[in-house]
Symmetry: C2
Subunit: 408 residues, 2 copies
């Protein structure tokens, strides 16, 4: 069995949290200097852990084991959302690093490759690193991607950080017995139920829409109420109908969110002539996703028939649910049972993760550790040191048993 060093694990996490430190969290957006410094630091630490490490053309940092036998690929992402938590992503990378370091020190006959996949957080292009590594990314997607905040083209960013012309590394699926990723839950399920480990059964499908409303821009003082075609009021009507109807048809773990609303022109004394919102829903069941979409389309048809504004539904993405490998789930569950009996649960992941990309090429599974209060994508995100260490032990133990089984 692989024994990790819990104190070193925490110390390493605190060390890497200095790159882009912000309050109790980090601000380490993809291709910022703090992100690139963290990647350089990771290469050094991977080398110290006995791995042969390098950075590729999209900033994936990959450390390869030279040990013989079946190889397990582990990892996650190392950049953060803006002004976000200190564990989101990097926890899975550092679990991998600590695992490799322990194997190296203890001279164990296990081969683990560790990856830090770039831009899972979509500053430029979501899953840039894992999609590139899994040969699921066309060059033209890189050509057109831009930073969501600064509008910097991705190509310019790659040139700026010195990666232009460097090849993108590609997965050799025959090298690996599977992919294992650890991550904070980002929800409150484990925390509120006093559970210590989530064994991810699937990563839910995420269907995203941009909904636009066209009305008539006009003066907010001079235009009588009866003469108005207020796109903002119309958008609010749809939002209210969604909030009324969706709970009635939702599955147990369905979620839906309006993340952004914009009124055009967005001035205090102008009746909005246009309005737009970003809407999404998630579920592990394709049937449920389709039920939601039918409902949404029905509401919009009803509102369009009623007038006076015109609604349009634009599909942004329809990612189907990704099932995690049952055998890897069993290894994780057995390891959790060893260290925290009765404190593990099988659960879907409502959040997207690199594991869903790897699931197309390898057997893949994920381990969740609790998020205090379920907070994430905010600098107050946290997990107790004890839970972090416990998660690291479960992760390392599962990795060991997977590799042991594969070696037979």
């Amino acid at each position: 069995m692989v024994q990790i060093n819990g104190d070193r694990l925490i110390a390493t996490l605190r060390e890497v949290a200095q790159f882009g430190a912000y309050k109790t969290g980090v601000h380490r957006p993809t291709f910022s200097s703090q992100d690139m410094d963290a990647r350089a630091w990771l290469i050094q630490r991977m080398e110290q852990a006995g791995l042969s490490a390098s950075i590729d053309g999209v900033a994936n940092v990959i450390g390869r084991s030279s040990n013989n036998g079946p190889v397990l690929l582990v990892g996650s992402h190392s950049e953060s959302q803006n002004y976000a938590g200190w564990l989101d992503g990097i926890l899975g990378v550092i679990y991998g690093l600590e695992l490799a370091q322990s194997i190296h020190e203890q001279g164990l006959p296990f081969a683990v490759d560790v990856g830090a996949w770039s831009d899972e957080e979509c500053h430029y292009l979501q899953f840039l690193g894992s999609r590139s590594f899994c040969d699921d990314l066309a060059d033209h997607e890189i050509d057109v991607a831009r930073n969501k905040d600064t509008r910097e083209p991705l190509r310019d960013a790659l040139r700026r950080v010195g990666l232009e012309g460097r090849p993108r590394e590609l997965i050799d699926p025959s090298r690996y017995v599977g992919y294992l990723e650890a991550h904070i839950e980002q929800g409150d399920y484990l925390d509120s139920h006093d559970l210590k480990a989530g064994i991810v059964t699937s990563i839910v499908g995420l269907w995203q829409y941009r909904i636009t409303v066209k009305g008539q821009q006009n003066h907010a003082g001079a235009t009588r109420m009866v003469a108005r075609k207020d796109a903002g009021v119309a958008l609010m009507r749809l939002f209210a109908m969604i909030e009324e109807r969706f709970p009635q048809i939702a599955g147990e773990r369905s979620v839906w969110t309006v993340g952004k609303i914009e009124l055009d022109p967005g001035a205090p004394s102008i009746i909005p002539g246009g309005a737009e919102m970003l809407f999404q829903f998630r579920d592990e069941s394709l049937v449920q996703l389709e039920r939601f979409e039918r409902e949404l389309v029905g509401l919009i048809e009803k509102l369009n028939a009623a007038g006076p504004c015109e609604y349009e539904l634009h599909i942004v993405d329809k990612a189907v649910p990704k099932v995690m490998d049952p055998s890897l789930q069993n290894h994780l569950e057995a390891a959790a049972e060893r260290f925290a009996p009765g404190k593990a649960v099988r659960m879907p992941s409502g959040a997207m993760h690199d594991a869903q990309i790897f699931a197309k090429r390898l057997s893949a599974s994920m381990l969740f550790v609790p998020s205090i209060g379920g907070i994430s994508h905010h600098w107050t995100e946290n997990t107790s040191d004890d839970d972090i260490i416990l998660g690291g032990r479960i992760f390392a133990s599962a990795a060991g048993s997977i590799l042991k089984e594969a070696a037979v």
Copy 2:
């Protein structure tokens, strides 16, 4: 009676619409080069109309008559909203110019001063010009004002256009018998009732609020619906309650508008932790304004008691209704009756106008001409040439009778 030249009036309006021409409208924001060019052109044209014209320290262009006898002050604003209509504001200035030109040519014994008051449209500071001229503006307000779009400080703008250090001209109330302003209605009342002239009885009170909601920012996939404190959903609830309740307690001409909504951080996969909206209502009755405010406060108290989000109501402005001078209204109505019998109506102005500033220092009144379809603050804003000319005749005739009466 003053006879204006209708063809010249239209030609002059078309000429000034070349400054910042945009589609069939104009883009002539305050202190843009096109705005300053238009002001320079105005000075020239005022001089040709026999006025002594100059620009002051906040870009007010004022043309003074040297004729003897009582003086009537007329005018409006010459800048436009962004990408807006060709008549909003400048119509009232050009009516004044055409009036002065006609008086000058016909050697009539009338004294009319014409003003183009700067920044009524609030690119930097609403009513900058009229408030400055009416001695209702403190220097420190100029010090802190910034452009709403570019954030350029007003002081920098004044330096940029060469007005730094130039004195601000101040009204001499003893010089004037009153203030008269013409403007497009900006609503659809005249147009939809086949009316040709609106005699403004009062400029409505405008109460403006910023409403903020505090929730809990979180991950839109991992956070269960029951655990959410979604500030966007909470804001939508208030908006829906306003739209349900306000029509039940509104006056005949009450209007209310949500002009802007912002969700924080406004990303597709993050549950908004904060939300904000700009809300306003207008009415000519103070009692009605107070009724609306009581209702709004009540709704927010109810929502705050219900939780889980926290609402806060911030007062932006509470401008009380401004009554227009009854005697000037009578002159306008008599003139309208002469040129368009049965086609005039007394009505409040839902929009704000420089006249409400002048009403604090002088007897003031306003004439509205029809807006086709009620459209304004948009480049498709328009009024038929016939209606423009008719309005000009009514305006000039009323000016003449006001001055004639005052001279007695």
